[in-house]
């Protein structure tokens, strides 16, 4: 993992000091709310329905056990004993007191963490594949350039007051586990015919009111040119992005309105000037950062591991958990375990301080001290020996996080919704809980196969509903919560935007409506191996609309 140098420590501490003074000035009235609001947002602090909410950055979803212990301590000491892991690989605390925020930031800084740029019109926390560094299918560990981007974008003076927020995601593999085409900039690490590593850069994707799958703007940016290219992409946006209309201020609108070709032309025209300014990182500095992500000391494991095979044979529940929650590791004898934060009927992404401490202990004991957060609101133990998998499973059973549902119907993304969020129009969590219970039977979930249900409580789409195979959007119609269904969305390398099926359903009826969609799929699929998204792409919306609304 990356370890802060003296500059990282200094700027993090300076920011703690600066924001502490700003909070103090706000509390005595020297700063008005209008003056303070953009400052608190740049430090991840929102005002929600019940209290302040603090969003803590977990850069590219990588976390040490020590940091997880600290997150748990903060949940216990300053919040109501839990936290919420988000679709941007961050953690949010829901019951924060403004007067305690300086203390919390100081605690975070003590473990090289912060809440910088987790909100506001700046470059947000960079996200990445949760299996970075351990996935066998990656070209290069995406954490290396993610860390380069983190350092470049932190407190970048030119990009601290962008027209709107700006999100960057990186995948090191063809298989996109970071939803890069739904980001303002999505980066895929690629290798050209000459065997050189470079970056395919997608620009202008996003969710929200106007969902857009990002077009490919440059198929191969050379390694040494990445930052000047990114800087130019942002510079064109900063110059021409719409500051006059918040709904048209994201880069996706600029790229759409200019057209990808014209946007690309403008970037290419400006790029030499940016490059000449010396923005790019010297190879030596990249190498310094890369060294932090060198593979840890893996043991040589001779496969097959008899105890592991034996445990699977004797424990069907463990075997099923392995089937869904274990990702292949590039090192023989190891696996990456996804810890489901989606217990049946539970709140997606929530974990208590006790659960966080227990997971941190598991990371120490079984995963070389390392953890990851996924954009699907789960956690990962990236380095577990096969021989330890059964022990890890048993420990997860004890804390209620052993559900074998990764990638299945109950592995649902849900934003906090109207239970917490000041922007929400409808509740998301109760819908997720209802669906989770309806599809709770593992037999049924396996019969259905891979299915991604994603729920947002408003059009801002924090719950990624546009990218859900089944997306659910909560709306407010004359004071009543209604839920619209979209189908056919995907956030992977075959990204697509879900299509709206029709009028919304009440909170009581939405669960039954989703069941109808699923049953329609089961009835029309060509074989059990044809997945929901494959079947939807084959037949289109008509049979699903008919099942929901009858013939019209």
């Amino acid at each position: 993992m990356y370890i802060y140098d003296k500059f990282d420590h200094a700027i993090t501490q300076e920011r703690v000091n600066e924001f502490s003074q700003q909070v103090a000035r706000r509390l005595v009235g020297e700063l008005s709310e209008e003056q303070f609001r953009p400052l608190r947002l740049m430090n991840g602090l929102y005002l929600q329905l019940h209290a302040y909410m603090l969003r803590v950055a977990i850069p590219y979803g990588t976390l040490s056990s020590k940091q997880m212990h600290k997150l748990a301590d903060i949940a216990k000491k300053y919040d109501r004993d839990y936290g919420h892991f988000t679709t941007r690989q961050n953690i949010q605390y829901n019951w924060i007191k403004l007067e305690q925020v300086p203390e919390i930031l100081a605690e975070l800084a003590s473990v090289e963490m912060h809440a910088n740029q987790t909100s506001g019109n700046c470059i947000r926390n960079v996200t990445a594949d949760q299996f970075a560094g351990v996935a066998g299918d990656e070209v290069e560990d995406p954490r290396i350039i993610s860390e380069v981007i983190r350092q470049w974008s932190t407190f970048h003076p030119e990009f601290s007051f962008l027209p709107r927020k700006f999100k960057i995601a990186v995948t090191g593999a063809v298989k996109d586990r970071a939803a890069i085409q739904y980001h303002d900039i999505g980066i895929q690490i690629v290798k050209n015919d000459a065997g050189e590593i470079g970056y395919a850069v997608y620009v202008g994707g996003g969710m929200g009111r106007t969902p857009v799958v990002a077009p490919l703007i440059n198929p191969f940016v050379r390694r040494e040119d990445l930052l000047s290219y990114l800087e130019t992409c942002l510079r064109v946006y900063n110059l021409h992005g719409r500051r006059d209309n918040i709904y048209k201020a994201r880069i996706k609108i600029l790229v759409r309105d200019l057209g990808p070709d014209e946007y690309r032309r403008q970037v290419d025209e400006m790029w030499p000037m940016t490059k000449a300014a010396g923005v790019d990182v010297p190879a030596g500095e990249v190498a310094r950062i890369e060294a932090f992500f060198a593979p840890p000391a893996y043991e040589k494991v001779s496969e097959p591991v008899a105890a592991y095979a034996d445990a699977k044979a004797k424990n069907p529940a463990f075997a099923r958990w392995i089937q869904t929650n274990l990702h292949p590791h590039k090192v023989p004898g190891y696996g990456a375990v996804t810890i489901s934060l989606k217990p049946i009927g539970g709140i997606p992404g929530d974990a208590s301080s006790a659960q966080m401490h227990a997971i941190a202990d598991l990371a120490d004991k079984y995963s070389l001290g390392e953890l990851r957060v996924t954009h699907v609101q789960n956690l990962v133990l990236p380095n577990v020996k096969q021989a330890d998998l059964f022990a890890v499973y048993q420990e997860l059973v004890k804390i209620g996080f052993a559900d074998a549902n990764i990638g299945l119907a109950s592995d649902i993304i849900a934003c906090p919704g109207l239970d917490y969020c000041a922007l929400a129009n409808a509740r998301s969590i109760p819908v997720a809980q209802d669906l989770s219970k309806r599809f709770g039977s593992l037999d049924r979930q396996h019969e259905i196969g891979p299915l991604q249900i994603k729920i947002s409580g408003c059009i801002n789409a924090c719950g990624h509903h546009h990218a859900g195979h089944i997306g659910i959007l909560g709306v407010d119609k004359a004071g009543q919560e209604l839920y619209q269904i979209t189908l056919g969305g995907a956030g992977d390398e075959k990204a697509s935007i879900g299509q709206l099926m029709g009028p919304g359903f009440t909170g009581e009826d939405i669960g039954g409506a989703v069941e109808k969609v699923v049953n329609t799929y089961l009835g029309l699929r060509q074989s059990p191996t044809e997945t929901f998204i494959e079947a939807y792409r084959r037949v289109g919306p008509a049979p699903f609309k008919e099942s929901l609304y009858g013939r019209r």
């Binding site: 706000r26 929600q48 019940h50 302040y52 403004l98 709140i347 239970d419 969590i429 004071g479």
Partner: protein, 105 residues
């Protein structure tokens, strides 16, 4: 000529979040900010609603509270917000019964 519809009866209370800790609070008849919605001072006339609005603006300007709003309540009986959003603000997240807020002391 069609007659103008009679103005809809409006009954409102004043709510905000406390600056220091973000707590959801309601302005009371005693002139204080209470976490209990049933203690909210009810305004039933345009003049009373205007008065509440001014009190909210003054408390905001004095840096006591933020996110100030005059909200609708259900007519009759104990004070109960009309909209689901405000019911949740008053009573807590519907998905965590252990974190429910009391509506009265």
């Amino acid at each position: 000529m069609a007659q103008a519809k009679p103005a809809k009866a409006e009954i409102k209370i004043l709510t905000a979040n406390r600056l220091r800790n973000g707590e959801t609070v309601y302005y009371t008849a005693a002139g204080e900010w209470s976490p209990y919605v049933t203690q909210a001072k009810v305004a039933a006339t345009p003049e009373e609603i205007e008065a509440l609005t001014k009190i909210g603006a003054a408390a905001y300007a004095a840096n006591l509270v933020v996110d100030v709003a005059v909200i609708d309540i259900v007519p009759g009986g104990e004070v109960k917000p009309a909209h689901i959003r405000e019911i949740i603000r008053a009573t807590g997240p519907t998905v965590r019964s252990d974190l429910n807020k009391s509506v009265a002391p």
